[in-house]
Amino acid sequence: MKSHEVKIAKEKLLPEAGIVKAPSPNGEQETMITGCWRVLRPVIDREKCTMCRSCWIFCPDQAIEIAEEKMAVKLKYCKGCGICAEVCPVGAIERVPELDFEDGVVRLEKLF
């Protein structure tokens, strides 16, 4: 190190807002459960799915996860926007009306 150089700590070189100090402890936002927004549910055809992970990249709510070596939807947070069905290159994601399913009931007592 030359004498005229000023020593700056490594993290000071990055803008403060750009630093993620630690991942969220549980990875979920319990105060904003958005599954009740969904009208059409994305259903992934596990036979057609090629694991390209386009849906995982494009999902704005990180509601797509990898479960049992295939892509799966976190129904607690999926708002049913349909972006995953649009970007799927093999058409493996179908949008089905939510009332056709008996499961996936969120039932919030109070919205906010």
């Binding site: 927004w37 009332l99 009931v105 969120v106 919205l111």
Partner: protein
């Protein structure tokens, strides 16, 4: 003070915001025409400018003057109207209902199918389904952001009129004649009144 009849309308934000507001406004306007004391207003807490967020619109009808001017929520609704039927899965829409309540759902499904998703049916007296999108296939989407201050599209010209007509039949809160004189599409309100499927519990 006489009992205030509280009406809560649930809908998806932005896409059904105007229609839900029309249901509350038309029912309140029709009751006002019958000489009752009314209030109709939106819920500001629900972040109404997000697409598909569950939003609430309220109306109150009373024979005597309504004293709760600064209560911005219907805590004990007697009539609950769902513009978006999927909300029976997402939210406890019957929260606070005390008994003898009515639930009106905008769906082509049968009332039995909707009842499967309601665990506590005790406060419910009647459940009714009306396929408003089939009767009047027009849902007005209002992006003006005026929140009802300026109604350029007209009040009660879309599915809101059908649901208000169904609510008039199921609950009897207003007469259909006074409702038809207040909505922009009286035929749709009459068809909603006639074609609603009611199941008594």
């Amino acid at each position: 003070m006489a009992k205030v009849q509280e009406i809560t309308v649930w809908a998806s934000g932005v896409v059904q915001d105007k229609e839900a507001r029309d249901v509350a406004q038309c029912l309140a306007a029709a009751a006002a025409k019958e000489g009752k004391f009314v209030q109709a207003f939106d819920n500001y807490v629900d972040l109404p400018d997000r697409v598909n967020v569950p939003v609430r619109k309220y109306a109150r009808i009373s024979d005597s003057e309504i004293e709760e001017k600064y209560v911005y929520e219907n805590h004990n609704p007697e009539i609950v109207i769902l513009v978006e039927p999927t909300l029976v899965k997402g939210v406890n829409v019957l929260r606070g209902m005390e008994g003898d309540g009515c639930l009106i759902v905008n769906t082509g499904r049968s009332p039995e199918e909707i009842l499967k998703f309601i665990p506590d049916k005790k406060p419910l007296k009647k459940i009714a389904c009306v396929d408003a999108m089939k009767i009047c296939p027009k849902a007005v989407i209002d992006f003006s952001g005026s929140e009802g201050a300026v109604e350029a599209a007209g009040v009660g010209v879309g599915i809101g009129a059908v649901l208000a007509g169904a609510a008039a039949k199921v609950s009897g809160c207003v007469a259909i004649d006074s409702l038809m004189s207040e909505v922009g599409n009286p035929e749709a309100a009459k068809r909603g009144f006639d074609e609603v499927t009611i199941k008594e519990l």
